[in-house]
Amino acid sequence: MKILVPVKQVGIIDEDYEIRDDGKNVDVDFLDYEINEWDNYSWELALNLQETYGEAVEIVPLTVGPDEAEDVLLNCLAKGGERGIRVWDDALVDSDSMAIAQVIAKVAEHENADYVLTGTLSSDHSFAATGMCVAGLLNWAHAAVVSKVDITPDAQQITVNRELEAGIEEEITVESPAVLSIQLGINEPRYASLRGIKQAKAKPVEVMSHKDFGLTDAEVGEMGSLSKVRKMYAPEHSQAELIEGTVAEQAKRIAEIVKELKGDT
Protein backbone atom coordinates (compact mmCIF):
# COMPACT_ATOMS: atom_id res chain seq x y z
CA MET A 1 0.00 0.00 0.00
CA LYS A 2 1.39 3.33 -1.01
CA ILE A 3 0.33 6.62 0.54
CA LEU A 4 1.12 9.93 -1.09
CA VAL A 5 1.00 12.92 1.25
CA PRO A 6 1.02 16.34 -0.43
CA VAL A 7 2.37 18.97 1.97
CA LYS A 8 2.58 22.70 1.44
CA GLN A 9 4.80 25.52 2.53
CA VAL A 10 2.48 28.40 3.37
CA GLY A 11 3.24 32.09 3.56
CA ILE A 12 2.32 34.01 6.67
CA ILE A 13 2.01 37.77 6.67
CA ASP A 14 4.46 39.48 8.93
CA GLU A 15 3.58 42.74 10.62
CA ASP A 16 4.67 44.86 7.69
CA TYR A 17 4.02 43.80 4.17
CA GLU A 18 3.76 45.16 0.68
CA ILE A 19 1.50 44.10 -2.13
CA ARG A 20 3.19 42.87 -5.31
CA ASP A 21 3.49 45.39 -8.17
CA ASP A 22 0.73 43.68 -10.14
CA GLY A 23 -1.56 44.03 -7.10
CA LYS A 24 -2.43 40.34 -7.06
CA ASN A 25 -0.62 38.95 -4.04
CA VAL A 26 1.59 39.91 -1.13
CA ASP A 27 5.21 40.48 -2.14
CA VAL A 28 7.01 37.22 -1.25
CA ASP A 29 9.77 39.17 0.48
CA PHE A 30 7.28 40.07 3.21
CA LEU A 31 6.11 36.56 3.98
CA ASP A 32 7.36 34.15 6.60
CA TYR A 33 7.10 30.51 5.68
CA GLU A 34 6.11 27.39 7.53
CA ILE A 35 4.55 24.01 6.90
CA ASN A 36 0.77 24.21 6.60
CA GLU A 37 -0.67 23.28 10.00
CA TRP A 38 -3.08 20.68 8.59
CA ASP A 39 -0.28 18.84 6.80
CA ASN A 40 1.38 17.92 10.09
CA TYR A 41 -1.72 15.84 10.81
CA SER A 42 -1.90 14.10 7.43
CA TRP A 43 1.81 13.22 7.60
CA GLU A 44 1.43 11.98 11.19
CA LEU A 45 -1.42 9.73 10.03
CA ALA A 46 0.83 8.29 7.31
CA LEU A 47 3.65 7.78 9.85
CA ASN A 48 1.29 5.98 12.20
CA LEU A 49 0.12 3.63 9.44
CA GLN A 50 3.70 2.92 8.45
CA GLU A 51 4.64 2.18 12.03
CA THR A 52 1.65 -0.12 12.47
CA TYR A 53 2.06 -2.11 9.28
CA GLY A 54 5.80 -1.84 8.60
CA GLU A 55 6.96 -2.67 5.10
CA ALA A 56 3.44 -3.24 3.85
CA VAL A 57 3.07 0.54 3.78
CA GLU A 58 5.17 3.03 1.85
CA ILE A 59 4.70 6.73 2.59
CA VAL A 60 5.91 9.50 0.31
CA PRO A 61 5.68 13.22 1.00
CA LEU A 62 5.24 15.48 -2.02
CA THR A 63 5.40 19.23 -2.27
CA VAL A 64 4.61 21.49 -5.19
CA GLY A 65 6.83 24.47 -4.56
CA PRO A 66 10.13 26.24 -5.26
CA ASP A 67 13.59 25.39 -3.86
CA GLU A 68 12.82 26.90 -0.45
CA ALA A 69 9.79 24.65 -0.10
CA GLU A 70 12.11 21.68 0.23
CA ASP A 71 12.26 22.56 3.93
CA VAL A 72 8.78 21.15 4.42
CA LEU A 73 9.82 17.86 2.83
CA LEU A 74 12.87 17.69 5.09
CA ASN A 75 10.61 18.40 8.04
CA CYS A 76 8.47 15.39 7.04
CA LEU A 77 11.41 13.14 6.24
CA ALA A 78 12.98 13.98 9.61
CA LYS A 79 10.01 12.19 11.17
CA GLY A 80 10.00 9.20 8.80
CA GLY A 81 9.67 8.03 5.20
CA GLU A 82 12.55 7.25 2.89
CA ARG A 83 12.23 9.70 0.01
CA GLY A 84 10.35 12.78 -1.09
CA ILE A 85 9.16 14.39 -4.31
CA ARG A 86 9.18 18.07 -5.16
CA VAL A 87 7.60 19.42 -8.33
CA TRP A 88 8.29 22.93 -9.50
CA ASP A 89 8.56 25.11 -12.54
CA ASP A 90 8.15 28.87 -12.89
CA ALA A 91 4.97 28.17 -14.85
CA LEU A 92 3.42 26.98 -11.57
CA VAL A 93 3.50 30.43 -9.94
CA ASP A 94 -0.06 31.70 -9.20
CA SER A 95 -1.59 28.22 -9.41
CA ASP A 96 -4.87 27.85 -7.50
CA SER A 97 -6.03 24.61 -5.83
CA MET A 98 -7.05 23.16 -9.17
CA ALA A 99 -3.73 23.82 -10.90
CA ILE A 100 -1.80 22.34 -7.96
CA ALA A 101 -4.19 19.38 -7.99
CA GLN A 102 -3.30 18.72 -11.64
CA VAL A 103 0.28 18.06 -10.55
CA ILE A 104 -0.63 16.02 -7.46
CA ALA A 105 -2.99 13.80 -9.49
CA LYS A 106 -0.23 13.08 -12.01
CA VAL A 107 2.23 12.20 -9.26
CA ALA A 108 -0.35 9.90 -7.64
CA GLU A 109 -0.78 8.06 -10.94
CA HIS A 110 2.94 7.92 -11.60
CA GLU A 111 3.59 6.55 -8.11
CA ASN A 112 0.71 4.06 -8.27
CA ALA A 113 -0.51 5.44 -4.96
CA ASP A 114 -3.46 3.80 -3.20
CA TYR A 115 -4.28 6.79 -1.03
CA VAL A 116 -3.67 10.50 -1.20
CA LEU A 117 -3.89 12.22 2.19
CA THR A 118 -4.03 16.01 1.97
CA GLY A 119 -4.70 18.59 4.65
CA THR A 120 -8.29 19.89 4.85
CA LEU A 121 -7.15 23.38 3.92
CA SER A 122 -4.05 25.51 3.78
CA SER A 123 -3.87 28.60 5.91
CA ASP A 124 -2.71 30.99 3.17
CA HIS A 125 -5.57 30.93 0.68
CA SER A 126 -7.92 28.62 2.56
CA PHE A 127 -9.79 27.24 -0.43
CA ALA A 128 -10.15 23.81 1.20
CA ALA A 129 -10.28 22.33 -2.29
CA THR A 130 -6.94 20.89 -3.38
CA GLY A 131 -7.53 17.37 -2.06
CA MET A 132 -10.99 17.06 -3.55
CA CYS A 133 -9.82 18.51 -6.90
CA VAL A 134 -7.23 15.70 -6.94
CA ALA A 135 -10.04 13.19 -6.32
CA GLY A 136 -12.05 14.71 -9.17
CA LEU A 137 -9.14 14.48 -11.61
CA LEU A 138 -8.33 10.90 -10.61
CA ASN A 139 -12.00 9.98 -10.35
CA TRP A 140 -11.32 8.32 -6.99
CA ALA A 141 -13.60 7.95 -3.99
CA HIS A 142 -13.11 10.73 -1.48
CA ALA A 143 -13.99 12.26 1.84
CA ALA A 144 -13.30 15.80 3.03
CA VAL A 145 -12.55 16.96 6.58
CA VAL A 146 -11.73 13.53 7.95
CA SER A 147 -11.35 13.29 11.72
CA LYS A 148 -10.82 9.54 12.15
CA VAL A 149 -9.40 6.88 9.86
CA ASP A 150 -9.30 3.11 9.94
CA ILE A 151 -7.16 1.81 7.06
CA THR A 152 -5.69 -1.66 6.74
CA PRO A 153 -3.31 -2.48 3.87
CA ASP A 154 -4.98 -4.10 0.85
CA ALA A 155 -8.48 -3.46 2.21
CA GLN A 156 -11.09 -2.85 -0.48
CA GLN A 157 -12.74 -0.28 1.72
CA ILE A 158 -11.86 1.78 4.74
CA THR A 159 -13.88 3.43 7.48
CA VAL A 160 -13.55 7.12 8.20
CA ASN A 161 -15.35 9.84 10.13
CA ARG A 162 -16.25 13.05 8.37
CA GLU A 163 -16.27 15.98 10.75
CA LEU A 164 -19.39 18.04 10.08
CA GLU A 165 -20.63 21.29 11.58
CA ALA A 166 -21.43 21.80 15.28
CA GLY A 167 -19.43 18.83 16.55
CA ILE A 168 -21.42 16.22 14.60
CA GLU A 169 -19.49 13.49 12.81
CA GLU A 170 -20.55 11.00 10.18
CA GLU A 171 -19.04 7.55 9.98
CA ILE A 172 -18.80 6.31 6.40
CA THR A 173 -17.02 3.58 4.48
CA VAL A 174 -14.95 4.64 1.50
CA GLU A 175 -13.80 2.44 -1.38
CA SER A 176 -10.12 2.29 -2.14
CA PRO A 177 -8.22 3.96 -3.82
CA ALA A 178 -9.26 7.17 -2.15
CA VAL A 179 -8.37 10.77 -1.46
CA LEU A 180 -8.95 11.99 2.09
CA SER A 181 -8.51 15.53 3.36
CA ILE A 182 -7.39 15.37 6.97
CA GLN A 183 -8.64 17.61 9.76
CA LEU A 184 -6.87 19.14 12.75
CA GLY A 185 -6.93 17.11 15.95
CA ILE A 186 -7.10 13.67 14.27
CA ASN A 187 -3.83 12.77 16.05
CA GLU A 188 -0.96 14.39 17.92
CA PRO A 189 1.74 15.32 15.43
CA ARG A 190 5.23 14.57 16.74
CA TYR A 191 8.20 16.90 16.60
CA ALA A 192 11.23 16.02 14.51
CA SER A 193 14.21 14.84 16.56
CA LEU A 194 17.68 16.28 16.01
CA ARG A 195 18.82 12.88 14.85
CA GLY A 196 15.89 12.71 12.44
CA ILE A 197 16.74 16.11 11.01
CA LYS A 198 20.31 14.97 10.34
CA GLN A 199 19.13 11.77 8.69
CA ALA A 200 16.59 13.59 6.55
CA LYS A 201 19.35 15.47 4.76
CA ALA A 202 20.64 12.17 3.39
CA LYS A 203 17.24 11.06 2.07
CA PRO A 204 16.66 11.56 -1.66
CA VAL A 205 14.24 14.20 -2.93
CA GLU A 206 13.34 13.79 -6.57
CA VAL A 207 12.83 17.16 -8.25
CA MET A 208 10.54 17.24 -11.25
CA SER A 209 8.58 19.61 -13.44
CA HIS A 210 4.92 19.41 -14.45
CA LYS A 211 6.17 18.74 -17.97
CA ASP A 212 7.72 15.45 -16.82
CA PHE A 213 4.16 14.23 -16.34
CA GLY A 214 2.93 15.48 -19.70
CA LEU A 215 1.18 18.55 -18.31
CA THR A 216 1.34 21.67 -20.45
CA ASP A 217 1.84 25.22 -19.16
CA ALA A 218 -1.82 25.90 -20.01
CA GLU A 219 -2.91 23.28 -17.45
CA VAL A 220 -1.06 24.86 -14.53
CA GLY A 221 -0.37 28.33 -13.12
CA GLU A 222 -2.92 31.06 -13.66
CA MET A 223 -4.01 29.55 -16.97
CA GLY A 224 -4.84 26.24 -15.39
CA SER A 225 -6.67 27.83 -12.48
CA LEU A 226 -10.42 28.03 -12.03
CA SER A 227 -10.28 31.62 -10.85
CA LYS A 228 -8.01 34.55 -11.52
CA VAL A 229 -6.99 37.13 -8.94
CA ARG A 230 -8.07 40.59 -9.99
CA LYS A 231 -6.67 42.26 -6.93
CA MET A 232 -5.63 41.70 -3.34
CA TYR A 233 -6.01 44.42 -0.73
CA ALA A 234 -6.16 45.00 3.01
CA PRO A 235 -9.71 44.89 4.38
CA GLU A 236 -11.25 48.02 5.79
CA HIS A 237 -9.78 48.85 9.11
CA SER A 238 -11.43 47.70 12.23
CA GLN A 239 -14.19 49.67 13.90
CA ALA A 240 -12.81 48.61 17.26
CA GLU A 241 -12.20 51.29 19.83
CA LEU A 242 -8.56 50.85 20.75
CA ILE A 243 -7.81 50.80 24.44
CA GLU A 244 -4.39 52.35 24.80
CA GLY A 245 -2.01 53.25 27.60
CA THR A 246 0.09 51.20 29.99
CA VAL A 247 -0.95 47.64 30.75
CA ALA A 248 -2.34 48.82 34.09
CA GLU A 249 -4.43 51.49 32.35
CA GLN A 250 -5.64 49.06 29.71
CA ALA A 251 -6.66 46.52 32.37
CA LYS A 252 -8.45 49.20 34.38
CA ARG A 253 -10.42 50.28 31.32
CA ILE A 254 -11.37 46.68 30.46
CA ALA A 255 -12.58 46.25 34.05
CA GLU A 256 -14.70 49.41 33.78
CA ILE A 257 -16.28 48.31 30.52
CA VAL A 258 -16.98 44.82 31.86
CA LYS A 259 -18.51 46.14 35.07
CA GLU A 260 -20.67 48.54 33.14
CA LEU A 261 -21.87 45.78 30.82
CA LYS A 262 -22.60 43.54 33.79
CA GLY A 263 -24.50 46.41 35.32
CA ASP A 264 -22.62 46.23 38.59
CA THR A 265 -20.72 49.47 38.59
Binding site: L137, T159, E169, A240, I254
Partner: protein, 320 residues
Protein backbone atom coordinates in the same frame (compact mmCIF):
# COMPACT_ATOMS: atom_id res chain seq x y z
CA UNK B 1 -32.49 33.65 -19.54
CA UNK B 2 -29.37 33.32 -17.44
CA UNK B 3 -29.85 31.31 -14.30
CA UNK B 4 -28.54 31.24 -10.79
CA UNK B 5 -28.88 27.80 -9.31
CA UNK B 6 -28.93 27.22 -5.57
CA UNK B 7 -28.33 23.76 -4.12
CA UNK B 8 -30.42 23.56 -0.95
CA UNK B 9 -28.69 21.65 1.84
CA UNK B 10 -30.20 19.69 4.70
CA UNK B 11 -29.07 17.49 7.54
CA UNK B 12 -30.96 15.24 9.94
CA UNK B 13 -34.26 16.23 8.41
CA UNK B 14 -33.79 20.02 8.47
CA UNK B 15 -32.80 22.47 5.79
CA UNK B 16 -29.62 24.16 7.01
CA UNK B 17 -29.93 27.76 8.16
CA UNK B 18 -27.22 28.67 5.66
CA UNK B 19 -29.44 27.54 2.77
CA UNK B 20 -31.75 30.50 3.40
CA UNK B 21 -28.79 32.88 3.37
CA UNK B 22 -27.62 31.44 0.06
CA UNK B 23 -31.09 31.96 -1.42
CA UNK B 24 -30.97 35.58 -0.23
CA UNK B 25 -27.61 36.01 -1.98
CA UNK B 26 -29.03 34.52 -5.19
CA UNK B 27 -32.04 36.83 -5.10
CA UNK B 28 -29.80 39.85 -4.54
CA UNK B 29 -27.60 38.85 -7.47
CA UNK B 30 -30.66 38.24 -9.63
CA UNK B 31 -31.85 41.79 -9.05
CA UNK B 32 -28.65 43.24 -10.50
CA UNK B 33 -28.72 41.09 -13.63
CA UNK B 34 -32.31 39.99 -14.15
CA UNK B 35 -31.40 36.30 -13.88
CA UNK B 36 -33.75 33.60 -12.63
CA UNK B 37 -33.19 31.80 -9.34
CA UNK B 38 -33.67 28.03 -9.46
CA UNK B 39 -33.38 26.14 -6.20
CA UNK B 40 -32.65 22.41 -6.37
CA UNK B 41 -33.31 20.12 -3.43
CA UNK B 42 -32.07 16.52 -3.39
CA UNK B 43 -33.82 14.24 -0.92
CA UNK B 44 -35.69 10.98 -0.47
CA UNK B 45 -38.82 13.04 0.05
CA UNK B 46 -38.01 16.40 -1.55
CA UNK B 47 -41.55 17.76 -1.15
CA UNK B 48 -40.97 17.90 2.59
CA UNK B 49 -38.26 20.50 2.02
CA UNK B 50 -39.60 22.29 -1.04
CA UNK B 51 -42.61 23.43 0.97
CA UNK B 52 -40.19 25.52 3.03
CA UNK B 53 -38.50 27.03 0.00
CA UNK B 54 -41.44 29.18 -1.08
CA UNK B 55 -39.41 32.34 -0.75
CA UNK B 56 -40.00 35.63 -2.55
CA UNK B 57 -37.58 35.97 -5.46
CA UNK B 58 -37.21 32.24 -6.14
CA UNK B 59 -38.44 31.37 -9.65
CA UNK B 60 -38.42 27.59 -9.53
CA UNK B 61 -37.95 24.79 -7.04
CA UNK B 62 -36.47 21.68 -8.58
CA UNK B 63 -37.19 18.50 -6.67
CA UNK B 64 -34.71 15.69 -7.21
CA UNK B 65 -35.65 12.34 -5.76
CA UNK B 66 -32.67 10.37 -4.45
CA UNK B 67 -32.65 7.14 -2.46
CA UNK B 68 -30.90 8.15 0.72
CA UNK B 69 -31.85 11.35 2.46
CA UNK B 70 -28.43 12.15 3.84
CA UNK B 71 -25.64 13.68 1.80
CA UNK B 72 -23.67 11.22 -0.32
CA UNK B 73 -20.97 12.89 -2.30
CA UNK B 74 -21.07 10.85 -5.56
CA UNK B 75 -24.84 11.28 -5.68
CA UNK B 76 -24.69 15.04 -5.23
CA UNK B 77 -21.91 15.27 -7.82
CA UNK B 78 -23.84 13.25 -10.40
CA UNK B 79 -27.11 15.11 -9.85
CA UNK B 80 -25.53 18.58 -9.90
CA UNK B 81 -23.62 17.57 -13.01
CA UNK B 82 -26.88 16.61 -14.77
CA UNK B 83 -28.53 19.81 -13.56
CA UNK B 84 -25.67 21.78 -15.09
CA UNK B 85 -26.12 19.95 -18.40
CA UNK B 86 -29.83 20.63 -18.40
CA UNK B 87 -30.06 24.16 -16.98
CA UNK B 88 -26.65 25.61 -17.92
CA UNK B 89 -26.73 28.14 -15.07
CA UNK B 90 -24.17 30.97 -15.03
CA UNK B 91 -23.71 30.67 -11.29
CA UNK B 92 -24.24 27.79 -8.85
CA UNK B 93 -24.40 28.72 -5.17
CA UNK B 94 -24.16 26.58 -2.05
CA UNK B 95 -23.21 27.43 1.49
CA UNK B 96 -19.57 26.98 2.48
CA UNK B 97 -20.46 23.74 4.23
CA UNK B 98 -18.44 20.61 4.80
CA UNK B 99 -20.74 18.81 2.34
CA UNK B 100 -20.04 21.45 -0.29
CA UNK B 101 -16.31 21.10 0.35
CA UNK B 102 -16.71 17.43 -0.54
CA UNK B 103 -18.69 17.66 -3.77
CA UNK B 104 -18.17 21.08 -5.36
CA UNK B 105 -14.42 20.82 -6.08
CA UNK B 106 -15.07 17.50 -7.84
CA UNK B 107 -17.62 19.05 -10.19
CA UNK B 108 -15.39 22.07 -10.75
CA UNK B 109 -12.38 19.86 -11.54
CA UNK B 110 -14.25 17.56 -13.92
CA UNK B 111 -16.04 20.32 -15.83
CA UNK B 112 -13.36 22.98 -15.39
CA UNK B 113 -15.95 25.44 -14.09
CA UNK B 114 -14.99 28.70 -12.44
CA UNK B 115 -14.73 27.97 -8.73
CA UNK B 116 -14.24 29.73 -5.41
CA UNK B 117 -15.03 28.76 -1.81
CA UNK B 118 -15.83 30.83 1.27
CA UNK B 119 -16.93 33.85 -0.74
CA UNK B 120 -18.55 36.73 1.17
CA UNK B 121 -19.41 39.19 -1.62
CA UNK B 122 -20.61 38.72 -5.18
CA UNK B 123 -20.81 41.56 -7.66
CA UNK B 124 -20.91 42.08 -11.37
CA UNK B 125 -18.48 44.36 -13.12
CA UNK B 126 -20.23 44.59 -16.47
CA UNK B 127 -20.65 40.94 -17.38
CA UNK B 128 -17.78 39.74 -15.20
CA UNK B 129 -18.70 38.07 -11.95
CA UNK B 130 -16.41 39.19 -9.13
CA UNK B 131 -16.22 37.04 -6.00
CA UNK B 132 -14.58 38.43 -2.88
CA UNK B 133 -12.94 36.19 -0.30
CA UNK B 134 -10.18 36.38 2.28
CA UNK B 135 -6.59 35.14 2.37
CA UNK B 136 -3.73 34.94 4.86
CA UNK B 137 -5.91 34.34 7.88
CA UNK B 138 -8.43 37.09 7.05
CA UNK B 139 -5.66 39.69 6.82
CA UNK B 140 -6.19 40.21 3.09
CA UNK B 141 -9.19 40.38 0.83
CA UNK B 142 -9.07 39.09 -2.73
CA UNK B 143 -11.31 39.88 -5.69
CA UNK B 144 -11.49 36.90 -8.03
CA UNK B 145 -12.73 36.82 -11.61
CA UNK B 146 -13.55 33.89 -13.86
CA UNK B 147 -12.72 34.81 -17.45
CA UNK B 148 -14.22 32.57 -20.13
CA UNK B 149 -16.02 30.34 -17.63
CA UNK B 150 -19.60 29.60 -18.64
CA UNK B 151 -20.49 28.36 -15.19
CA UNK B 152 -19.03 29.48 -11.88
CA UNK B 153 -19.46 27.43 -8.68
CA UNK B 154 -19.40 29.45 -5.48
CA UNK B 155 -19.66 28.39 -1.84
CA UNK B 156 -20.82 31.29 0.35
CA UNK B 157 -19.59 32.19 3.82
CA UNK B 158 -22.24 32.05 6.54
CA UNK B 159 -23.71 35.07 8.33
CA UNK B 160 -23.16 37.29 5.32
CA UNK B 161 -26.61 37.50 3.76
CA UNK B 162 -29.84 37.95 5.69
CA UNK B 163 -32.54 35.37 4.92
CA UNK B 164 -35.62 36.69 3.12
CA UNK B 165 -38.73 36.61 5.30
CA UNK B 166 -41.28 37.18 2.59
CA UNK B 167 -43.02 34.11 1.24
CA UNK B 168 -44.24 33.42 -2.27
CA UNK B 169 -45.81 30.61 -4.15
CA UNK B 170 -43.02 29.15 -6.24
CA UNK B 171 -43.59 26.71 -9.11
CA UNK B 172 -42.19 23.25 -8.43
CA UNK B 173 -40.75 20.93 -11.03
CA UNK B 174 -39.09 17.58 -10.73
CA UNK B 175 -35.86 16.37 -12.20
CA UNK B 176 -34.81 12.75 -12.34
CA UNK B 177 -31.51 11.78 -10.84
CA UNK B 178 -29.02 9.98 -13.08
CA UNK B 179 -27.75 6.57 -12.00
CA UNK B 180 -24.88 6.79 -9.58
CA UNK B 181 -21.98 4.63 -8.52
CA UNK B 182 -21.80 5.53 -4.84
CA UNK B 183 -18.34 4.78 -3.50
CA UNK B 184 -18.97 5.84 0.08
CA UNK B 185 -21.64 4.46 2.38
CA UNK B 186 -23.24 6.17 5.34
CA UNK B 187 -22.96 4.20 8.59
CA UNK B 188 -24.14 6.57 11.28
CA UNK B 189 -24.10 10.09 12.60
CA UNK B 190 -22.23 10.66 15.83
CA UNK B 191 -23.57 13.51 17.95
CA UNK B 192 -21.23 15.31 20.34
CA UNK B 193 -20.96 13.56 23.69
CA UNK B 194 -23.34 14.92 26.27
CA UNK B 195 -21.47 16.20 29.26
CA UNK B 196 -22.30 17.57 32.64
CA UNK B 197 -20.12 20.56 31.79
CA UNK B 198 -21.66 24.03 31.62
CA UNK B 199 -23.30 24.85 28.31
CA UNK B 200 -21.30 27.78 26.92
CA UNK B 201 -24.10 28.41 24.41
CA UNK B 202 -26.22 29.59 27.35
CA UNK B 203 -23.58 31.82 28.97
CA UNK B 204 -24.02 35.59 28.79
CA UNK B 205 -20.45 36.36 29.81
CA UNK B 206 -17.66 34.41 28.18
CA UNK B 207 -13.91 34.65 28.51
CA UNK B 208 -12.23 32.65 25.77
CA UNK B 209 -8.61 31.72 25.38
CA UNK B 210 -6.77 30.79 22.20
CA UNK B 211 -3.38 29.54 21.15
CA UNK B 212 -1.76 32.60 22.68
CA UNK B 213 -2.02 30.63 25.94
CA UNK B 214 1.05 28.71 24.75
CA UNK B 215 0.93 25.80 27.17
CA UNK B 216 -1.35 23.87 29.43
CA UNK B 217 0.18 25.22 32.63
CA UNK B 218 -1.13 28.68 31.78
CA UNK B 219 -4.76 27.56 31.64
CA UNK B 220 -5.16 27.79 35.41
CA UNK B 221 -4.47 31.53 35.49
CA UNK B 222 -7.36 32.16 33.11
CA UNK B 223 -9.68 29.72 34.88
CA UNK B 224 -9.11 31.75 37.97
CA UNK B 225 -9.55 35.05 36.13
CA UNK B 226 -12.83 33.90 34.57
CA UNK B 227 -14.12 32.68 37.93
CA UNK B 228 -13.20 35.86 39.71
CA UNK B 229 -14.82 38.01 37.02
CA UNK B 230 -17.95 35.87 36.94
CA UNK B 231 -17.31 34.76 33.36
CA UNK B 232 -17.56 31.28 31.84
CA UNK B 233 -14.35 29.98 30.28
CA UNK B 234 -14.43 29.11 26.58
CA UNK B 235 -11.69 28.44 24.03
CA UNK B 236 -10.69 28.22 20.41
CA UNK B 237 -10.22 24.88 18.73
CA UNK B 238 -6.50 24.23 19.28
CA UNK B 239 -7.04 24.39 23.05
CA UNK B 240 -9.74 21.72 22.85
CA UNK B 241 -7.80 19.65 20.29
CA UNK B 242 -4.86 19.61 22.70
CA UNK B 243 -7.15 18.39 25.44
CA UNK B 244 -6.37 21.41 27.65
CA UNK B 245 -10.07 22.19 27.97
CA UNK B 246 -13.01 19.91 27.17
CA UNK B 247 -14.43 19.99 23.63
CA UNK B 248 -17.67 21.33 25.12
CA UNK B 249 -15.84 24.63 25.73
CA UNK B 250 -14.95 25.16 22.08
CA UNK B 251 -16.49 28.15 20.34
CA UNK B 252 -16.92 28.05 16.58
CA UNK B 253 -18.14 26.26 13.51
CA UNK B 254 -17.27 22.79 14.75
CA UNK B 255 -17.91 23.69 18.37
CA UNK B 256 -20.67 25.87 19.76
CA UNK B 257 -22.37 29.04 18.65
CA UNK B 258 -22.59 31.18 21.76
CA UNK B 259 -26.10 32.42 21.08
CA UNK B 260 -26.83 33.84 24.52
CA UNK B 261 -23.54 35.69 24.89
CA UNK B 262 -23.56 39.44 25.48
CA UNK B 263 -19.91 40.06 26.39
CA UNK B 264 -17.04 38.07 24.91
CA UNK B 265 -13.48 38.53 26.08
CA UNK B 266 -11.05 36.98 23.59
CA UNK B 267 -7.50 36.40 24.83
CA UNK B 268 -4.88 35.27 22.30
CA UNK B 269 -7.38 34.34 19.60
CA UNK B 270 -6.53 35.38 16.03
CA UNK B 271 -10.09 35.46 14.70
CA UNK B 272 -10.24 32.66 12.12
CA UNK B 273 -13.44 32.46 10.12
CA UNK B 274 -14.34 29.19 11.84
CA UNK B 275 -13.95 30.71 15.29
CA UNK B 276 -15.90 33.82 14.32
CA UNK B 277 -18.76 31.64 13.06
CA UNK B 278 -19.46 30.93 16.72
CA UNK B 279 -19.18 34.43 18.21
CA UNK B 280 -19.19 37.15 15.55
CA UNK B 281 -22.76 38.09 16.49
CA UNK B 282 -21.88 38.96 20.12
CA UNK B 283 -22.59 42.69 20.68
CA UNK B 284 -19.67 43.36 23.04
CA UNK B 285 -16.43 41.74 21.99
CA UNK B 286 -13.25 42.77 23.77
CA UNK B 287 -10.13 41.32 22.16
CA UNK B 288 -6.65 41.14 23.65
CA UNK B 289 -3.93 40.23 21.18
CA UNK B 290 -0.25 41.12 20.74
CA UNK B 291 -0.72 41.35 16.97
CA UNK B 292 -2.30 44.71 16.07
CA UNK B 293 -3.30 43.25 12.69
CA UNK B 294 -5.11 40.21 14.11
CA UNK B 295 -8.45 39.82 12.36
CA UNK B 296 -10.34 39.49 15.66
CA UNK B 297 -10.00 43.29 15.91
CA UNK B 298 -12.16 43.69 12.80
CA UNK B 299 -15.21 42.40 14.66
CA UNK B 300 -14.29 43.54 18.18
CA UNK B 301 -15.95 46.52 19.82
CA UNK B 302 -12.88 47.14 21.96
CA UNK B 303 -9.36 46.23 20.93
CA UNK B 304 -6.43 45.84 23.29
CA UNK B 305 -3.02 45.34 21.71
CA UNK B 306 -1.17 43.79 24.62
CA UNK B 307 0.22 40.63 26.14
CA UNK B 308 -2.65 38.53 27.51
CA UNK B 309 -0.67 37.43 30.56
CA UNK B 310 0.23 40.94 31.59
CA UNK B 311 -3.37 42.08 31.14
CA UNK B 312 -4.66 39.08 33.09
CA UNK B 313 -2.27 39.80 35.98
CA UNK B 314 -3.66 43.32 36.30
CA UNK B 315 -7.27 42.66 35.43
CA UNK B 316 -7.88 40.21 38.26
CA UNK B 317 -7.09 42.89 40.86
CA UNK B 318 -10.16 44.84 39.76
CA UNK B 319 -12.53 42.00 40.61
CA UNK B 320 -11.17 40.49 43.82
Amino acid sequence: MNKIMVIAEHRLGELTAATFEVIAAAVELKQTKGFSVNVAVLASNPAEFSAKLNIAGVDEIIEVLIQENQFQTDTYEAVINSLLDEYAPSVVLTSNSIDAWSCMPIIAAKRQCGFATDVFALNYDGDDLIATRAAYGEKMHVDLEFPDKETVLITLRGNTYKPIEQEASVPVSSFSAPSVNARTTHKRFIEPETTSDVDIAQAELLLSIGRGIENEDNIEQFEELADTMGFTLGCSRPIADNGWLPKSRQVGQSGKIVVACNTYLAFGISGSVQHMAGMKHVPNIIAVNTDAEASIFIIAKYGVVADMFEIADELINHFE
